[in-house]
Symmetry: C2
Subunit: 342 residues, 2 copies
């Protein structure tokens, strides 16, 4: 058993508002030692995710990270030591670990899975063929339940999840409308991700009117990654028996104190709308199903994706902060070390 030196990023301080690089610190130490049934992974890519805002917020949630500990993240890497009979040294695995070179993981967790590096670039295991693809897939299909002909509206439509939602909805025969911020992202939506129409919210004075114009038959499914005032506006345009998938709240910087907005209950009642919070992990037992469909769609060119990769764990905090300024163009990944399969 060799002992590795380990760079990892710890959370120094919980956030009042948006994540900032100063909240994190890159530290050196010994690599952790896998216990019975565990494996040691040498990470190649880790992620910066919009949901991390909630994990490090002073307003605690289902995935709060404690200060002084390694920041949680999704990761893909190579097993360098295994105490589990079903996992061999040298195998590539995706898991929920953290911003670290070396991490210990439990292969029995539903979020742990093997990745075949011959199938697709390793990085996709953290994006379209991983957490983003699964989030789009189950949030849209299991919660949003679109029918052919439905109008599906998606916020952060140029993002890793939003762009997949739009393309899956299109495969299912829906009319797809994206909301994105800025001309470059708006162009991605229509030109690369095949949305039928897009609204650049930074370029319109009246978002309500712009959505109404883009969705003349109303909205059957709203896949929402932002919440806030956009959600308030959309709720007034959702059709009878429409579905609102609450997947993220990116537009709200802080939940302390809990902000206010337009009351939703009358819209829900009059149109019998179902508004439902959604977390991908609840579907971990069905990831295989999503992976099979998504792999086929990617292989057939029916789903396009974009990645935005920065080098080095020392840049992870800045990459995370950049998400909330809309600086990334595609799935934000941090390359921990050179990809051994490229």
């Amino acid at each position: 058993m060799s002992q590795h030196r380990n760079s990892h990023v710890i959370l120094k301080q919980r956030a009042d508002g948006l994540p900032a690089p100063e909240l994190f610190e890159l530290v050196e130490g010994d690599a952790p030692v896998p216990g019975d049934g565990e494996v040691l992974i040498n990470n190649v890519y880790v992620t910066a995710d919009p949901g991390m805002k909630g994990w490090i917020s002073k307003a605690r949630n289902y995935a709060s990270v404690e200060t002084g500990t390694t920041m949680h993240s999704f990761s893909v890497g190579v097993v360098v030591e295994s105490n589990h009979p079903d996992v061999q040294e040298g195998e590539v695995v995706a898991a929920n670990t953290g911003w670290a070179e070396y991490v210990v993981a439990d292969p029995n967790l539903p979020t742990f899975r093997k990745v075949d590096p011959a199938d697709a670039p390793l990085s996709t295991a953290l994006g379209i063929l991983g957490i983003n693809g699964f989030t789009a897939y189950f949030g849209l299909l299991a919660v949003g339940q679109p029918k052919a002909g439905d109008t599906v509206l998606v916020s952060t439509a140029a993002g890793a999840v939003g762009s997949a939602v739009g393309q899956i909805a299109k495969i299912k025969g829906c009319r797809t409308i994206g909301i994105a911020g800025g001309a470059e992202k708006a162009a991605l939506c229509t030109d690369v991700f095949g949305f039928d129409d897009v609204i650049d919210y930074k370029a319109v004075d009246d978002l309500d009117a712009a959505i109404r114009q883009a969705c003349p038959d109303g909205i059957d499914v709203y896949y929402d990654n932002v919440g806030g005032a956009t959600l308030d506006i959309v709720l007034g345009q959702v059709n009878l028996h429409g579905r609102v998938v609450i997947c993220g709240t990116a537009s709200t910087d802080s939940w302390i104190p809990q902000p206010t907005g337009l009351r939703p209950e009358r819209n829900l009642l009059v149109n019998r709308i179902r508004m439902e919070g959604f977390l991908t992990f609840d579907y971990a037992h069905r990831y295989g199903e999503a992976l099979a469909d998504l792999s086929e769609w990617v292989r057939d060119g029916k789903i396009q994706y974009r990645e935005d990769i920065v080098d080095g764990l020392e840049n992870a905090g800045a990459a995370l902060a950049g998400l909330y300024e809309g600086r990334n163009m595609g799935r934000q990944l941090i390359r921990v070390r050179p990809d051994p399969f490229l």
Copy 2:
């Protein structure tokens, strides 16, 4: 074919806020004449319903009543003329008609149904064995989907719908907590309707703390008839995968302009809560199922109900206004003429 004189109540003016007697006028005219396939009904009871606030509001909804026309309501009465082969003169029927002595109805509508006056008092066809019972039944069972052991919280718990919700939830093995206004209604909840606990919201300083105390294990199903600040508070106490049934918005007097409240999306997301608007009419094709269960439960003494009956169509507007002041004790009915079966 005899021609009847007809007293009926018309809507003179749409409401900015709460219904008031002055918005209505009792007028005299000729009874309407049933067309092909229609029947003429001589009403015995009509209703005053919390939802009528929305029907007569300037903010239009699914059931808006036009000014100058007869106010809509639920009704039970006796058929006095029939142009429909399946309905005979003298039969008792419940239908969606209006505040009038004589009304025409279409027996082919799913909301039209025959009532056996030997089964139960006629008035129950507008309450526990009618719209209120059906609303409680489908809203709780089809939308709320309680499991045995769940904590079910109900607002307006002493009301015609809320009291039925609590008792059905109890039959299904749930722990039931009511919210009601005033000592008399709170006592009804525990002593007559069998709630495990009740919160008199008029008697507590801190509703959040009072609900937390009454629901130490959190809330699995919230059956909401009021919306507003109570809904905001409850959303912070709903458990993982909890359900919120939006059945009414009685606490909000006016929706113009749309009022504000605490943003719900983070609570929905963190606990993957489903919040869904519900309208009984969507289940009209399944009323028979509800009637069978409810009739049995009433017969077996498992469901208690209360009625509050005023005499004369001239008092309908005041009875409606009284609902929003909490003046009624039980299902608010208006007796149009003496009940021929009593």
